[in-house]
Amino acid sequence: MSEDGNGTAHKRETDGGSDSPNFVPTDGAESAVSVPDDDEDTYVESQVIMSTVRVVAPFSLTYGLFLMFHGADTPGGSFQGGAIIGATVLMVAFAFGIEPTRAWLRNRTVVALAAGGTAVFVLVGLIPLLAGGRFLEHHFYVDIGLIDTPKWGLEAIEVGGVAPIVAGVVIGMFFLIAAGWPPEGETEVTGDE
């Protein structure tokens, strides 16, 4: 998107008088807060954190999946489950470095989680509506004999909709903040859109 070559490549400081809409403070001498260099690697390898996460992550991922899949019958649910699954990825990223985790979990995965979850939710709701029923009418699927109890309609929007959306947005938000502003390795966007 910013490869249109209207700015100097890898330019870090904004020119004086530029009406760019971004939030990078100009490096004035009186500026109290400065933005750290984005190339600076803040990751510190710690054996304690890595070992702890190695032990805890399988359990927290299982717990998140349990809450998601079993939320219909026990306390919990897909929102909490999705959040814990997302938090597990955040934990792994904190322990083993954000950049490797980001490379491992590609953009495609994050977008598929968030957008796919929304699509599943919409589809589950719209199919009964288009077939003459009402929006999100789980009993419609029972009536046509697709499922035997409306429970599976609830499960579809919980497991297929809410949990992926929450997990995807949590992970995406984390990676976006980690990428910083201006985005690492990209040309700074200048005033004209």
Binding site: M1, T74, G76, L90, F121, V169, M173, F175, A179, P183
Partner: protein
Amino acid sequence: MISAFEAVLFAFVVTTAVTTALLRDVLAVIVVFAAYSLGMALFYAFLLAPDVAMTEAAIGAGVTTLLLLLTLVKTVREDEDRTFERPNLPALVVFGGLLAVLLATVSRFPAVGSAEAPAWANPAVTQYYIENAFTDAGVENAVSAVLAGYRAFDTFGEAVVVFAAGVSILIVLQREVFTRE
């Protein structure tokens, strides 16, 4: 009236909340705020709201803390010479007034678990869900039945809001991808 555990938990939550407001160092604020969220999660569990407790523990104590810590890494911490913030007198007066109004309503609350509480004694809503959730929706957790069954349209709106929030962050940061390809 209240158990020792409740009293300790209450003292812990109030202390961490006040400390969060008064500390000057941002890192310390984030750590204390996470402790506050954990205390609140225990409180919700104690008040028989395990679903809310899990949300508070996962979002409040977990994800929010990690996001704030990451933001702190990305910005610069100023060295503080003082540990605590000097209280702002006008803000303190406003806060005290609000607190007095809120505390004045507490004595009118029904007791926890009281059968006369409006939320419990309402046969048209609460009792209906408790009696019919399993036959209507086929799930044993009435909270899930309400969220994904009776009030599925509301949940749909909430899910779309979360999705829109993710898209909005991309727009604000003028990026097209969450991760580097």
